[in-house]
Amino acid sequence: MAKKIDYNRRPMPKQEPFERVRNFDEVALGYTEDLAVEEASRCLACKKSFCKEGCPVAVDIPGFIQCIVDRDFAGGIKKIKETNALPAVCGRVCPQEDQCEKVCVLGKKGSPVAIGRLERFLADWEAASGETETPDILPSTGKKIAIVGSGPAGVTVANDLVLLGHDITMFEALHDAGGVLTYGIPEFRLPKAIVRREVEYVESLGVKLRLDYIVGKTKTIDRILTEFDAVFVGAGAGLPWFMEIPGENLNGVYSANEYLTRCNLMKGFRFPAYDTPIKRPSYVAVLGGGNVAMDSARTALRLGADEAHIVYRRSRTELPARLEEVENAEEEGVIFDFLTQPMRLIGNESGWLTEMECLKMELGEPDSSGRRRPVPIEGSEFRMKTDAVVCSIGNSPNPLIPLTTPGLEVGRKGNIVVDEATGKTSRDAIWAGGDVVTGAATVISAMGAGRNAARDIHEFLSGNGSNA
């Protein structure tokens, strides 16, 4: 008997906006077991699983969903971990609506299955159960691989290669592992305890972690290669971009990297219990429209701002941020100033930001990106009161490895050039992936790049692959 199709996605419980805007605790609370089973039961178990094809790391989505339907949660998490070392992270921060959920057949007439929420449910269920499923590890190959950076790309490579029996050391420049998951994404969207748990999981598989180790500076890649058979570079984000408008070096002007690092990695929101200070300005303007911009504006509100603005030169439809994050920001009272282009920042005599001059825009013809180009409206200049600007328009790849590795081919924007399918760089025995290759992108795309590189590194160490 054909089952009745249920088009309605189960909502995930969240902290109420008026409450959550005053704390740094996680906004989304996750499905209960019953909600997860109800949601999983909506899956049509299609013969051809488009969802799995839509996942950059090809998680067996129908497989784990069936486990949830059967209430075999241990089996479900084991299925995910066959291909994904970071389920609690991916379930929270992947843009599922553009990947697995986008191609879900249910989405044609109703809401797609909430694949991300179900993935998160299983990961959290495992954490709460206190028992961790560990996949089988192949016998030691005796090959040593160095991984530069412990963010999503690095952790994925470490996970994949350690399972194949290789000896893995992951080098992290900062004092805490996780890369952007730790310094960039705020606590209220991705609790750091979860990142720590996932890093500890790969450590439990035998991966060695060296903190405070800046490959390129503490030791160059060439010196690393005297001790290791291969290197994967997942060094992540580099220098922030600014608008290149007057006044960007005024006090009170931050890059999103600085603003979020102060708050997340350094725990500035807990100053003075933690030593690193962060300002608590009243009128904050965040420039940009991506997820990082949403994170910054929502952080500003939690730090006590009267007003947090997102200043974006296009309109709501063009916002690059995930819809879920935009809605969360709206619910919390972030003010969106669309079609607004900052022109200059104005300060007082002591060098502190006081105002921002902007220009109103209107949408014109589509540009090369297919989005309608914002065109200035003449004479529409206006000033807004602001005592903090957070510039959130992206960043270049981290420059340390390119600067210190001779012969490594680097692109015009400072990105490491790789073969797209394998992540292989122009240098023997060196692979790269994630933001250091693509510039700022998503967690899951970095993980996908790590997955491909791991496969090729393994081939190489087994005597095949790009280097052979």
């Binding site: 420049a173 900062l174 004092h175 310094y183 903190l211 405070d212 180790y213 800046i214 500076k217 503490t218 030791k219 992540g236 984000a237 580099g238 220098l239 922030p240 600014f242 960007e248 070096n249 006090n251 931050y254 890059s255 990297n257 600085e258 690092t261 102060r262 990695l265 350094m266 725990k267 100053f271 003075p272 219990a273 933690y274 030593d275 690193t276 200070p277 002591s350 060098g351 960043n395 981290n398 420059p399 340390l400 600067l403």
Partner: protein
């Protein structure tokens, strides 16, 4: 964890700090800095490197106690340890064998960090004159070490208790009196010393390199807080520097940016019960 080998107050409020970090000791060069955290809730604090010992695997820095984090560092004892010591960071100071005569100016913690610069310049075959600047003679240190690597050491104190009396604004006059014609000047120390020295040498037409010390967080080219304007362009001290041409820096902007967190920096001191001093 990184073991503290030495931490002692070398002159009032300046501390000599030696930490065991063999891999950094192997890679470090004059002009580099390290980032340390005194404890698990501490700030990432950049310190200019003043010396190192590859055999012992140690790095030495001189730091001034200013705010909460440096106060914590100043309370560390030999045998203890710190959770973070990362580096070497920043580009090294450019050392060539054909500079000719180089004047190395050090003040405050910079007397320490100019020492490996003078040593490297001397080893490369340049003539090295070191000028040590302090408020008073009791704030000078490492004169013996600098004597060893310099052709001449000149002292300058504001109260005249050692060497010349006055401030760095006397530089032109001192050069004439000492009959020195430097081909290059390198300055390490507090912002005012570097700024005033640069303004002096600009009128003298002598190329001047300064080792900048902005606020930093990661120190690895990620956060962008250490930005400054050099020759009209935005530069990042942690990866483009910290050495820059002193004549090209927007000093006024730099000074203001340095003061961003002054109120927070003294917060722990205000809480210490000595608030009436502020």
């Amino acid at each position: 964890m990184y073991e503290i080998v030495e931490r002692r107050m070398i002159v009032p409020n300046l501390h000599e700090f030696t930490v065991k970090a063999p891999e950094i000791a192997e890679s470090v060069q004059a002009g580099n800095f390290i980032i340390v955290r005194p404890d698990e809730v501490g700030e990432r604090t950049p310190l200019s490197v003043a010396d190192w010992d590859c055999d012992a695997g140690t790095i030495t820095s001189i730091f001034m106690q200013v705010g909460g984090s440096t106060a914590k560092l100043a309370r560390l004892e030999p045998g203890g340890d710190i959770p973070t010591c990362a580096g070497p960071l920043g580009k090294e100071t450019e050392i060539r064998d054909d500079f000719g005569t180089v004047l190395c100016i050090g003040g405050c913690y910079g007397i320490g960090s100019i020492y490996p610069v003078a040593r490297a310049l001397k080893e490369a075959g340049n003539k090295v004159v070191s000028l040590l600047e302090a408020r008073s003679s009791y704030l000078l240190y490492w004169q013996d070490k600098l004597e060893e690597v310099s052709d001449r050491v000149i002292e300058l104190t504001r109260d005249g208790t050692a060497g010349y009396k006055g401030h760095i604004t006397r530089l032109g006059e001192i050069l004439t009196l000492e009959k020195i014609k430097p081909d290059l000047i390198i300055v390490n120390g507090c912002t005012f010393l570097m700024m005033r020295a640069s303004k002096m040498t600009e009128s003298l037409g002598i190329k001047t390199i300064v080792n900048m010390n902005p606020i930093m967080i990661d120190g690895t080219g990620m956060c962008g807080v250490c930005r400054l304007t050099v020759a009209g362009k935005m530069k990042f001290a942690c990866v483009d520097g910290p050495d820059f041409d002193g004549h090209e820096i927007d000093w006024e902007e730099f000074l203001k940016r340095r003061q961003t967190y002054n109120p927070e920096e003294v917060h722990p001191l205000r809480k210490s019960g000595c608030a009436s001093h502020f």
